[in-house]
Amino acid sequence: MVEARFKPGDRVKVRKAYPLGHIRTPFYIRGHSGVIERICGAFGNPEELAQQRSGEPKQPLYRVRFVQNEVWPAYKGNPEDVLEVEIFQHWLE
């Protein structure tokens, strides 16, 4: 199991990368910054599991909170509206 590098409240940025494969990091959130909402635990890496490999070592999974206004330039709503997305540690920096 890979050790958790972030803790709740830490500011993180999602990697802006476009590799091929089964990736659970949505395109729309790549390159955006947010704050760790919670650590969900460690889970098999889906990019490995999809290739019939073991998924080991398990990767820490986080819920990251983004401010809607920062994600969507034309966002309409309360400036405090947020979007929370599960992101694996190897996608965060």
């Binding site: 729309y28 959130i29 969900c40 889970f43 966002y75 405090e80 979007l83 929370e84």
Partner: protein
């Protein structure tokens, strides 16, 4: 496929499903009985299970705290098996409304709500809920006040989400069974709120 008595060819996905199932049976990996039992078990799960959890949280504050802290364990306490998945319960309050979506596919808390509705899997719901939640909710007939905050939860990996709605006014003294009856599937996804009448 509509069965109107006339021959209709299988669609691509139906053909793939039948081929895969027959191969698995032929190779002795699963039996036809196991497949039939699993389908039956899947159809047995309905939003009534989730509604029972919500109603318990409404009447028992210590249960509600447990549910918010560790959703999977709190469900097991009521005899609901949540398997290896982790359940995150998010609470609606007078200042915050929660809504759940899976932009990548159709992740859904099936153990609590059963089979997801078609619209939950639609491209439109999946793409628009993250970028314009207020407009999407309004199309469901739910207008969220400008002063209220919206939290959208994109279920992208191993977590599953259940919205804990607010207990509606006018339900004082109701027992759990009566309360559970007002908790619809849509309330637990976050595209509706429960009403007492």
């Amino acid at each position: 496929m509509k069965d109107n008595g006339s021959y209709q060819p299988y669609s691509y996905f139906q053909l793939m499903e039948v081929s895969l199932r027959e191969l698995l049976v032929e190779k002795g990996i699963v039996t036809e009985t196991q497949v039939a039992e699993e389908v039956a078990a899947m159809r047995m799960r309905t939003p009534a299970i989730g509604a029972k959890v919500v109603a318990r949280a409404w009447v028992d504050d210590s249960y509600k705290q447990k549910l918010l802290e560790n959703g999977s364990r709190a469900c097991e306490e009521l005899g609901i098996e949540v398997a290896a998945l982790k359940l995150v319960v998010v609470e609606n309050t007078p200042s915050t409304h929660n809504v759940v979506v899976c932009t990548l596919c159709s992740c859904y808390p099936r153990m609590l709500l059963g089979i997801p509705p078609e619209w939950y899997k639609s491209r439109s719901y999946r793409s628009r809920t993250v970028s314009e939640p207020r407009a999407v909710l309004a199309e469901f007939g739910l207008r969220i006040d400008e002063n209220m905050k919206i939290r959208v939860h994109d279920s992208t990996a191993d977590m599953r989400y259940l919205v804990l709605p607010m207990r509606p006014a006018g339900t004082d003294g109701w027992n759990e069974e009566r309360l559970a009856a007002v908790v619809t599937r849509d309330c637990m996804i976050g595209v509706a709120v429960p009403k007492s009448s």
